[in-house]
Amino acid sequence: MDYVNIGVIGCGNMARDLARRCVKLGRCRVAAVTDPDPESLAAAASEFMADTAASAEELCNRPDVDAVIVGSPPGAHLDNVLAAAAARRPIFCEKPLGVTVAECDQMIAACDEAGVLLFVGQVLRLFPLFAYSRSVINEGHIGEPRAISVIRAGYGQAFHSGWRAKRKLAGGLLLEVNVHELDYMRFIMGEPVRVYALMDNIMRGMDYEDQAYVLLEFENGGTGCLHTSMSSPIGEYRVHLQSTKGNLVHGGFSGSLRYQPVDGQVTEVLQADISGLNPYDRELSSWIEAITNDAKPLFTGHDGRMAVAMAECAYRSADEKRPVAVSEVLAT
């Protein structure tokens, strides 16, 4: 196939940006779009000069749609992914893959059965300082990772209205926002085994938590701590990684990354000095390469599912006030 003809389900900000990037990468065109909101639909159709479809089923079954981007709110990922799998179209689904592990299992099973690719947009791993931190570990400068702490705090009006304010569609803060951080922690530390969490809803802007501490244990014996907040006008992003021969700290989306072996000097790199492909372009290139050339995708439904499982453990832990084993939520 020369060009990948894309169908877009849920034409909001994210999906439109992704589609724009696909076109810019020079290997895709947008064939059709669908969205329950007439305004979003009309805007996307005119921007991409694409046909409109009345439903996900109709869109996925069009002969001119080769592959599908799902950009609906998280609570609506399941139905849309199932529609694409039924039509045997390879899928790019935005994170979180679903709002429960059971949903993820259903999507993965449907895609496996149909033999189609399920790619999940766990793009945080590809942001400069995040990707860089993994390479520093791979190169052995600071030994094996043993403890990771991530702070992500902010305050967004966008979360106080529309689908983002509702657990039913957003899943919760840990799902809508922090599957990114949970996936990154797993990317660095390996598989998680147990989770303990304390949560609160301080500002009541959403019908779910706007503050959480999540403690994690990993298979390698290491530990992790995520502090997330959507009630902090003074925002902060901070990663602190402790490993067997040194440590590494970075500022997430901006600032710098520093690492130092116990017996060596500190090395600092500014995010502004790192050149490379935009993270979204990189995930989309990987998706397209996987579709057209059978290349190994950067992340799959399995990664999406594991991040959702970590969040689900945290919710169960907060509800039941006890540590929850990851195996408890993975068992179906």
Partner: protein, 327 residues
Amino acid sequence: MSVRIGIMSMAHMHAYSYAGAINEIAEAELVGIADHDLARARESAAQFSTQAFASYEDLLKADIQAVVIGSENVRHRELCEMAAAAGKHILCEKPLATTVADAEAMIAACRYAGVQLMTAFPCRFSPAMARLKATVDSGQAGAILAIRGTNRGRCPFGWFVQKELSGGGAVIDHTVHVTDLMRWITGQEVAEVYAETSNRMFGQDFEDIGFLTMAFDKGVFATLDSSWSRPKSFPTWGDVTMNVTCERGVLTLDMFSQNLVVYSDRTGGVSWVPWGSNIDLLMLQSFVAAVRDGTPVPITGEDGLRAVEVALAAYRSAESGKVVAVR
């Protein structure tokens, strides 16, 4: 499965040796060559029985896992960033870059892309050098006290003497090899440099003589003659030698002494034709193995950066007439 490699620029003569080496390695394949100079790309591709690509972009879109960068020194960064963004592992000719900022940017781009960056320091693969290192590591001669090194050569002229392409003359070209060897065997970093340079061989606007005195951070000191001081009629391109003074002995190395002496009326003189091991081939084999197995390359971008820092410190010292700190 073989490791598929492309070459980005044949500007450096070592690129020809690397291309030949890739062709000798059974588990590697030279997929193609791209160059600013299209004619050079075509000619070298014909010479090495491979394909010429019309642009670096085209080469990077081809089915390759790794590239060798053989461009003029100042272009290393641009090509490295392109290759990293395309997800290709990189073997870059030395000196890694002509400024610290460029070298750091290259390392950062590769770390961000999750690809490996190896600096081409073939001397580490010399069996004689490996023997010297093993002897030092065995401790039988005791700790290293001081090193006298040389890397003297014929002047390569061409772009090597155009600062806007090379970043300098003999010092940036020749300091990095032996500095890397000294770092490697001592496990120490160069802390301070005093250097004198001059243009008394050729009298042009580049330095052809460079002489460095280096103090390492844990006590070793060393001198290095990195001059382009061999005349045109010298029977080979140059030398790499080291004299390593240890607590209980002295080790001497003459890396390129395995030569036949050939007297030829056709070439009009005497030449030393090497019969010893092919260190470029050994280096390419190690790069190919690292790419194939996903294991760390033996010589990193940081090794390349550390050596560049020493060369740049030598220029600062020569300019100021003072001992300068490397970092």
